[in-house]
């Protein structure tokens, strides 16, 4: 299975299971305003070598607020504290990253650095094994999620 397919399945499963959000396949779309961007750096150790990688996630602020409200069980979007949207974006990136790496090789081993909010969405470096996907989240306001994962050999 391709890395892109694995990334998409991990994201769909995470959003539907823990964030109570149905998804459908989307395409590249402008996110508008200042999107919420979260990143996770990881180190993976597989039978055929070691990888250093990064998972990046971005979504409109309104989408992050909507997902945060569902995740935290907050009634209205207006009640979502500003910090909650960032915290939930970090957790979402963390879970999708772990689920993707587990699916890539369940017999491997990986460690994740603490997820961090970023100011820019990271494009994979040239030569890296990379994949990206877009998901629509119809139930969320401005519901679009952009994900990218890059793996570089790290002997």
């Amino acid at each position: 299975m391709s890395v892109q397919r694995i990334l998409k399945e991990a994201a769909e499963s995470t959003l539907e299971t823990m964030f109570f959000a149905e998804t459908s396949e989307g395409g590249p779309a402008p996110l508008g305003g200042s999107p919420v961007i979260a990143e996770v750096v990881f180190h993976a150790h597989y039978e055929d070598g070691n990888c250093l990688g990064r998972l990046s996630l971005e979504m409109p602020e309104s989408c992050a607020n909507s997902i945060a409200a569902d995740f935290e069980g907050i009634g209205g979007l207006g009640d979502v504290p500003p910090v909650a949207a960032n915290q939930v974006a970090l957790e979402l990136a963390n879970i999708i990253c772990g689920a993707t790496l587990t699916r890539l090789d369940s017999k491997g081993l990986f460690t994740l650095d603490s997820p961090a909010i970023a100011s820019e969405f990271s494009k994979p470096a040239p030569g890296a094994q990379a994949a990206e996907c877009w998901l629509e989240i119809p139930s969320a306001s401005g519901g679009i999620l952009h994900l990218a994962i890059a793996l570089e050999n790290n002997p």
């Binding site: 995740f71 879970i95 772990g98 587990t102």
Partner: protein, 133 residues
Amino acid sequence: MAFRVLIVDDSPAMRGFVRRVLEISGLETSAVFEASDGMEALETLSREWVDVILTDINMPRMNGEEFVTKLTQSAQLSAVPVIVITTDGTEVRQEHLRALGVRGYLAKPFTPEDLKDEIERVMETGTCQYNAF
């Protein structure tokens, strides 16, 4: 039986989520405590007893593996069942956690039913059920 539960996770969002999932899963709880890392969890356990501990692995100051090791070295706390909730679902990690004495394991993403089932399994068996995770 109503359980006393300790949730250990450095993410406030995740602690809140687990607390809410405990509520909606239908599992009876009489007290739910929270700690942001292993050190804070040990402080909580020095004043409160709990029936089960739900802990993350990647945490600052004292991570989940160090925390579990401390528990197993304690005469008072080694019997408290620990369920690890983690993003890492690899077989290597699961085997390592079993060796440390962890009794339950839940890989994210998980449903409220998954959490309830794992807590009930661990509390009912009372001993390690290695084949189950």
